[in-house]
């Protein structure tokens, strides 16, 4: 049985999905890759937009697309240090 992901891991998975798809991705792709319910994914995306990890764009076909900001890239770069620190103190 796989371990339940914590909040930091879910955020990491969403941000990595966006980065790995050339930093421009549709919500359906995030939904598919992040393995979350639609409701959960929307809640996480809203939080990531509010905290400026991700920006939402509307393309020419009026479809939503998501990209990482500098903060989002910085989170991905430092993720292993953050996770290691949080795990060692049980701060999740």
């Amino acid at each position: 049985m796989t371990k339940k992901r914590d909040r930091l891991e879910i955020i990491h998975d969403i941000l990595r999905t966006i980065r790995d798809k050339g930093n421009e991705v549709k919500p359906t792709h995030i939904l598919y890759k992040s393995n979350l319910s639609h409701q959960m994914m929307t809640a996480y995306l809203d939080e990531l937009i509010e905290k400026r990890f991700v920006i939402e764009k509307i393309d020419k076909k009026k479809k939503k697309k998501y990209s990482l900001t500098e903060t989002g890239f910085s989170y991905l770069n430092d993720y292993h240090k953050i996770k290691s620190f949080v795990d060692s103190y049980g701060l999740e």
């Binding site: 909040r7 930091l8 955020i11 905290k51 903060t71 910085s74 989170y75 430092d78 292993h80 240090k81 953050i82 290691s84 620190f85 949080v86 795990d87 060692s88 103190y89 049980g90 701060l91 999740e92």
Partner: protein, 220 residues
Amino acid sequence: MSFVNFSPPWFLGFDILLELLFFIITLIISVFAFKVYKKTYQKSILLFATGFFLISLSYLIQSLFNFFALSKLNENICVVINIRSVLFFNFMGIIAHIIFMILGLSLLTYMTLKIEKKRSFLLILLLPTLGLIFSKDLVNTFFMYSTLFLSFLLYHFIKNYIKKKDNKSLLIASSFVLLFIGNIYFILLPTNSLFYALGHIVNLVAYILIICNFYLVLKR
């Protein structure tokens, strides 16, 4: 009275250096935790960072006031700031150290209990505060409350190690075992001044383990 009054003569001065070292280590952890908070916006990390920051301040105050008492600088400071009694000045140092340490430990304990209600934090903070105000032996009561808080923190870190089973969580759990033992030595201070030195040395080993864990976190 100052904390240095508890020290065996051969340990005078070393205690100040160690407290300064504890201040630097807890400050480093606190600053890093604040940086982690800025990237995660997780409330538990903010509480942890603030808790460690308050503890670092308590060590700084303890170190400074012990230095003032040892170098007799406290007498000059009392003249400059117009305080008549050196004893009162030293007592203020003890009070400030106790306030910051109890605040820091309460915040860390509140963080580990994972309770959202702010009233719970007030309860955690107010109970020892009242106990300290009405205590006849302020310093010993303070060490007893610190040990009580550390026992809750120890439970959290041991549980975390059992869950994670990795070297880093083992280092942190071990460091809190030592901090707990160090505080028990401080409780035993009225029986023998040697416990003052032993408490500091055990705390030194605990903070070395904390900084080792920090090195492993950064190394990754």
